[in-house]
C-alpha cells in the first residue's frame, strides 16, 4: 500500500489529507473535514482536474479584458493547451456572466464561459 500526503484544494480551508491507496484505489483517508476531500484524493491520484481561469480580449468594452473560466474542471495536463486555445480569442462587447465563448473546449465537455458582465464603452 502506498501512503500519500496531500492538500485538498476543493476550498480555501485546504485540509491536509493522509491517504493510503493501492492501485489508485483509496483504502484509508483521514484529515478531510468534508466528503469532497475523498473525491479530490481519488481524482488527484488517478486523473487530476483543475478549473482554468484566464482572460480574453473584449472589443469595445468598458474594460479591455473579459475574465473567463472553464465551466467545470478539465484534466490538469490540458491547462496549457486550454490557455493556447484562448490566446488569440477576442469577443465583442457587451458580455454577460455565463456567455459561452468556446463550446466543449479540447473535447473536455467543458465550455469556456464569461465570468463578468461588462457593458459597451460609451
Amino acid at each position: 500500500m502506498e501512503k500519500h500526503e496531500m492538500i485538498c484544494i476543493c476550498c480555501p480551508r485546504g485540509c491536509r489529507l493522509n491517504v493510503a491507496a493501492e492501485g489508485g484505489e483509496i483504502k484509508e483517508i483521514s484529515g478531510n473535514r468534508c466528503r469532497r476531500g475523498e473525491t479530490y484524493a481519488k481524482e488527484e491520484l488517478t486523473h487530476p482536474m483543475r478549473v482554468v481561469t484566464t482572460t480574453v480580449q473584449l472589443n469595445g468594452g468598458k474594460i479591455p479584458m473579459l475574465p473567463v473560466k472553464t465551466s467545470k474542471a478539465i484534466p490538469k495536463a490540458l491547462i496549457f493547451d486550454c490557455i493556447d486555445c484562448l490566446r488569440d480569442v477576442s469577443v465583442d462587447a457587451p458580455a454577460a456572466i455565463g456567455d459561452v465563448i468556446i463550446k466543449d473546449v479540447l473535447g473536455t465537455g467543458a465550455d469556456i464561459i464569461a465570468t463578468r458582465t461588462i457593458g459597451k464603452r460609451d
Binding site: 476550498c11 485546504g14 483543475r50 479591455p64 465570468t115 463578468r116
Partner: protein
C-alpha cells in the same frame, strides 16, 4: 448639505453586503461612494475561482461573487456614485467626497460604514538595498495590469513574499507565458493558503524558498537581477548564502494594510496589531455612529466572512440611525497565548442577539492544538485543530445561552493551548 441615513465608503464586497443588509433592515436612505469606475472592489481583479463556497455553496470567481451582490444592489435600487473618492469624514459624520461630475460633495450621514478595504504594503515600505529601476511592482498592481488592463509585465519573474496574491500571480504570469523563477519567503512558512501553494506553485513546478529573502536589486533602467539569500532564525541574511538570480520583474507580495487614513481624521481609535479600528460586537468604532467591516477592519482570507460581517455591521448602523441604544461594551476580549488579535475587541454580553462570533488569527504555526475561549478563567469552548496557520482566519462561536448562563462576565480570553 445633503442628509443620508447610511453612507457607505467603498463599493467592494463589504460595502455591497452592508448596503443590501441596511436596505433589508429598513434604512430609508443609503448611498455607496466608490472610488473606482465599477462596483466590486478587489474582486474584479481576482479572476481565479475560490469565492463563495460558504455563502453560495459553489465555487465562484471574484467577479461572479461580486456580481451576485451588484445585482442585489441594482434590484433593491440602492443609490451609488462611482468614480467618487471620499476625502474626509468628521467625528460627527460629515462626509466629504469628490468626483469629476459634481466636484465636491458634502453629506451629513446618520451613520457611516467604513468599507474601504486595504492596500498593499508599497515597495518603499520594505527596504531593499540597490538600484532603483523599473520592473518592480506590488503583486496586486500586477494583477490589475494583467487581468483588467491586459498588459504583460515581464518575462522572468521573481516574487518576494508568499501571500495569496503573490501565489495567485505566480500561476497567472506562468499561464501568460512568463517564467516565474521562484517565490521567496522570509518566514519558515508561507503566509498564503495551502491550496494556493498546491494549485499555483506545485502544479507548475515553481519553487518556494522558505527562510529566504531578496537582499539587493540590480538594474540600470530595467531590473536585471536580484540577490537572494537564506536567513537565520532572527531573519538576518546568512553570509555566503547569497545567489544572484537573473530576472526582469520583481513582484512584492508582502502584506496588506487596512486603508484607514480617513478613520483617523474621524478620531477612530485603531489597533496597532490589525491596523483597523477597535470595534465592539456591533462593529462600531470608538467614534459613535462610525462602523467598520471587511478588509478595512482586518485583512480577511475569505470574502464569505467579509459579506457576513458587513451584513451584521449594517444592521447595527441602522439601529444607530433609529436611536436604539445599547449597553456599553466594556468587557475586553483578550488575545491569549498564541493569538494575535480578536475581532470584536470588546463586547457587552447583553448586546449579543444570537451568537457571539469571534474572529481571530494565530501568531504562528501549530499542529494538534486546541482553540479555547475562557470566560472568567473557565473554558466555555474548546476545539482540537490538526493544523493552525497565521494565513487562515479562525472563528470561535459562543451561543447566547452559554453567555447568559454566566452571571458576571469580567473577562474573555481566546487562546491556543494543549
Amino acid at each position: 448639505m445633503k442628509n443620508v441615513d447610511i453612507v457607505i465608503v467603498g463599493g467592494g464586497p463589504a460595502g455591497l453586503a452592508a448596503a443590501v443588509s441596511a436596505k433589508r433592515h429598513g434604512a430609508d436612505s443609503i448611498l455607496i461612494l466608490e472610488r473606482d469606475a465599477s462596483l466590486g472592489g478587489i474582486l474584479n481583479q481576482c479572476i481565479h475561482s475560490g469565492f463563495g463556497l460558504h455563502r453560495f455553496k459553489e465555487e465562484l470567481t471574484g467577479p461572479e461573487y461580486a456580481q451576485r451582490y451588484i445585482s442585489l444592489v441594482e434590484e433593491l435600487e440602492i443609490p451609488y456614485l462611482l468614480g467618487t473618492t471620499v476625502i474626509d469624514i468628521t467625528h460627527d459624520r460629515k462626509v466629504t467626497a469628490v468626483n469629476s461630475e459634481d466636484g465636491v460633495i458634502e453629506i451629513q450621514a446618520g451613520a457611516v460604514i467604513m468599507a474601504a478595504g486595504c492596500r498593499e504594503r508599497p515597495a518603499g515600505a520594505i527596504n531593499i538595498y540597490g538600484d532603483r529601476c523599473t520592473g518592480i511592482y506590488t503583486a496586486g498592481t500586477a494583477q490589475k495590469f494583467v487581468n483588467i488592463d491586459g498588459y504583460m509585465l515581464g518575462k522572468k519573474i521573481i516574487i518576494l513574499g508568499s501571500g495569496d496574491i503573490g501565489l495567485i500571480m505566480a500561476r497567472r504570469m506562468t499561464l501568460e507565458g512568463a517564467e516565474v523563477k521562484a517565490v521567496i519567503e522570509i518566514m519558515p512558512f508561507s503566509s498564503g493558503l495551502n491550496r494556493n501553494i498546491v494549485q499555483c506553485l506545485n502544479d507548475f513546478g515553481i519553487p518556494l524558498y522558505l527562510s529566504h529573502t531578496v537582499t539587493s536589486i540590480k538594474g540600470d533602467k530595467r531590473l536585471e537581477s536580484v540577490t537572494v539569500a537564506e536567513v537565520d532564525q532572527s531573519l538576518k541574511p546568512i553570509k555566503g548564502s547569497e545567489r544572484e538570480v537573473e530576472c526582469d520583474t520583481l513582484l512584492l507580495s508582502v502584506g496588506l494594510l487596512p486603508e484607514n487614513e480617513m478613520s483617523k481624521r474621524a478620531d477612530v481609535v485603531l489597533s496597532g496589531v490589525t491596523g483597523g479600528a477597535v470595534v465592539n460586537e456591533r462593529f462600531e468604532t470608538s467614534t459613535p455612529g462610525i462602523f467598520a467591516c471587511g478588509n478595512v477592519l482586518h485583512v480577511h482570507d475569505l470574502v464569505d466572512y467579509v459579506s457576513e460581517e458587513s451584513e451584521r455591521a449594517a444592521k447595527y448602523a441602522v439601529d444607530f440611525v433609529r436611536g436604539r441604544t445599547y449597553a456599553e461594551s466594556d468587557i475586553q476580549i483578550t488575545p491569549g497565548s498564541g493569538v494575535r488579535y480578536t475581532v470584536p475587541f470588546k463586547i457587552n454580553p447583553h448586546n449579543i442577539e444570537d451568537n457571539l462570533v469571534i474572529r481571530f488569527r494565530v501568531s504562528t504555526r501549530y499542529s494538534d492544538k486546541r482553540i479555547r475561549v475562557l470566560i472568567n478563567g473557565e473554558p466555555v469552548m474548546s476545539r482540537l485543530e490538526p493544523a493552525l496557520v497565521p494565513a487562515e482566519m479562525q472563528t470561535a462561536v459562543i451561543s447566547r445561552e452559554k453567555l447568559n448562563a454566566i452571571p458576571d462576565i469580567r473577562d474573555i480570553v481566546v487562546e491556543v493551548g494543549d
